[in-house]
Amino acid sequence: MMDKMLVSPSPHIHAAVSTRTLMRDVIIALVPAIVVSVLFYGWSELLVLAVSVASCVLLEWAVTKWLLHKPSTISDLSAVVTGLLLAMNLPCTTPWWVVFIGAVIAICVAKLTFGGIGQNIFNPAITGRVFLLISFPTYMTDWTVPQGFITKVDAFSGATLLGIVNEQGAGAVAGLDYLQTLFLNIGGSAGEISALALLAGFVYLVVRKVIKPWITLSIFATVAIISGIFCAVDPATFTGPLFNLLTGGLILGACFMATDYVTSPMNNVAGIIYGFGIGFIVMMIRYFGSYPEGVSFAILIMNMAVPLLNRAFHQHKYGRA
């Protein structure tokens, strides 16, 4: 009887949580934004999503099997999350082969080169996105709006709101309807289309205790405070807090990319500092940089500070007040 029994050290039970369940929750949290973007951008958006996810998963499987000779890690679903986030950072008009190159950079270079999940320094999806932005600027700034499933808009090649501000100044968006922006912000990548859908996903992740809200809130607060001050001083040149919170990739970045476990600090205080850094860099790029948007750059730059923040901040120990 006893030779069939397990003997191992305590604890003998485990919480119903695994890397896979956490990644599955992130995917669930992204569903509202994905649904909205597919409804409004149609088949082309679906194609970008499918190519991105399929490429990320296939590349991870192929590289771990044939180059690293390790057991496959695709079942942890992290490659799916990377694929979704990469796609949501791209215009829906991006050609499939450009999406594939982005996936190569995200999975092969940013993730697997460093040892796979948990080991990468830079957020894979953002690294892929920034690589494409620099290498294929024409594709990456073509914000043509195609025929969606529920829209009747004729295809038009528009600039994003941030692009307009970058070229024409804050006055060009003076009459913007912010309520409209909150729900629907056509023109931009899938991840920019609906602030509300993204925030719903963020709330889901916080409620499910997948992520803590501090990094995200710190980014929002920093962006609001900095733009509030600048806008108060010179409203003709600088856009205000509402505009900066609701446009561009800020919400997607703050909720889903800056909160990536691997590339963000583990301590809450460090997380708030990290969030401040991102918010600060975003606003500097938006106000003074040559690019209209800077969320990706801000996150990548602050990714580099994470090892230092992890070393500097530790949680308070019991009995060592």
Binding site: L6, V7, S10
Partner: protein, 450 residues
């Protein structure tokens, strides 16, 4: 009433108290018992009987082997058959006294009646001596000799006696049952210990998932008109019953690293220990019985039990009496699922601190394959000592002993919250345990050199 809890970390496993409605049954005597000489923290006891001797139940059969050690009594009447090494539940050899049971004759002067004796001896020394002579040890897990803890070193003053009725480990219900069925005895036991500690206030801490126990203990205290003892409800959160966590929850004080509870004025004793103290002081009955839960997720509802058992009865006897190992059991555990020990030797004898026989199914206990740390920080969030297990894991891999000491690996209480909550199934505690022992060794040798 505001529910008390500790300030840092912890986890919320399903409490799985399937045996909570099972009243305590008396386990019949086996033909033979094996009494371990190491059933308390500290030096093993030294046998004072010889092979062939006839012993009565409650008679001393071994004396303390050091300052931190305890008397051991025969749990049964019968003839000493052998004294020698026998495997304990982990499979390690330990001296046991084997006694063949003959009848059930108890040593003189032991009151076996149910009559409640409420009058407490006035002399502190008499009480302490009685507790020591009856071999009472802490029954909350560590089995630290009770008389040592109840006799603070000169200069240290107890400001609060905490009776631990948290029973925060999932599955276990033995403390719950005694708090309901023996509430008055436990209350008197608490009052006795209060007396020993010069009348300091006493708090009985019970987790919120045991309202019947809260009511029973509160009623016992008011019925007996006990002064300065109160029941406080604790949040259901593991490890609420950890000594340091309980002190934090009840007194809002934290024991410094390497310190003792008495440094912050706390003395913590388990509810079962309070019962043992009552029996020792009021009934002159040594610690030869305890309550044990037979439970598990693969055990049918009608086969869950709480038993009053004689210490030294082999686990295999109890398992057989309770209907054998159930279908689907993959692991047998002595103790709770978070800190209990997996049974490697089913013939091992029960000891004073035995609290359960727990059967877990493969589904709930099988460890999953380890994957990369995703730096989610759940282990650090769960650690009730405020340590960072992910970092300790890295330092262990790097062999950095100084780093480990600097990150306080020696403060680990081995509660298992880190491993429990790790989504990558990294065996954090498995690695931290030996590293902690090594660092403690280094600290100790350094202190000797000074």
């Amino acid at each position: 009433m505001r529910k008390l809890t500790f300030s840092k970390g912890g986890v919320h496993p399903n409490d799985s108290k399937y045996s909570r409605e099972c009243g305590i049954e008396v386990l019949p005597l086996p033909q033979v018992v094996y009494v371990s000489m190491a059933q308390h923290l500290g030096a093993p006891a030294k046998p004072i009987v010889n092979v062939g001797d006839f012993v009565k139940a409650g008679q001393v059969i071994a004396e303390p082997g050091g300052f931190i050690s305890a008397f051991v009594h025969s749990p049964v009447s019968g003839t000493v058959k052998s004294i020698g090494p026998r495997k304990d539940l982990a499979g390690n050899n330990m001296t046991h006294v084997e006694i063949a049971v003959e009848g059930d004759i108890w040593a003189d002067g032991i009151d076996l009646s149910d009559t409640l004796v409420t009058e407490i001896p006035q002399d502190r020394e008499t009480i302490l001596k009685k507790i020591q002579e009856c071999g009472v040890v802490g029954l909350g897990g560590a089995t630290f000799p009770a008389h040592v803890k109840l006799n603070p070193a000169p200069g240290k003053v107890a400001e609060c006696l905490i009776i631990n009725g948290a029973e925060c480990e999932p599955y276990l219900t033995s403390d719950y049952r005694i708090m309901i069925e023996r509430s008055k005895e436990i209350a008197v036991g608490a009052a006795i210990m209060q007396k020993v500690l010069n009348g300091c206030p006493c708090v009985i801490g019970i987790e919120e998932n045991k309202p019947e126990a809260v009511n029973a203990m509160s009623a016992a205290i008011s019925d007996l008109k006990l002064q300065n003892i109160e029941v406080k409800v604790l949040k259901k959160r593991y490890p609420q019953g950890g000594e340091k966590q309980l002190i934090d929850a009840v007194m809002h004080r934290q024991v410094r690293s390497g310190g003792l509870p008495i440094d912050v004025g706390a003395v913590v004793q388990n509810a079962a220990t309070a019962l043992a103290v009552y029996e020792a002081v009021q009934k002159n009955k040594p610690l030869v019985t305890n309550t044990l839960t037979v439970t598990g997720d693969c055990l049918p509802e009608n086969r869950q039990h709480n038993y009053l058992f004689r210490i030294g009865i082999p686990l295999s006897y109890i398992i057989e009496y309770a209907g054998g190992v159930p279908e689907g059991a993959a692991k047998i555990i002595s103790g709770g699922p978070m800190m209990g020990k997996a049974v490697a030797n089913i013939d091992a004898a029960t000891v004073k601190g035995s609290s359960s026989i727990l059967y877990l199914s493969k589904q709930s206990t099988l460890r999953k394959e380890e994957s990369n740390c995703i730096r989610c920080g759940r282990c650090a969030d769960a650690c009730p000592m405020g340590l960072e297990p992910f970092l300790l894991n890295r330092l262990i891999k790097a062999g950095d002993m100084e780093g480990l000491e600097d990150r306080s690996v020696q403060d680990c209480i081995e509660c298992g919250c880190c491993l429990y909550s790790c989504p990558a199934n990294i065996p954090l505690l498995d690695r931290i345990r030996p590293a902690k022992a090594a660092v403690l060794g280094i600290i100790k040798s350094r202190n000797i050199k000074k």
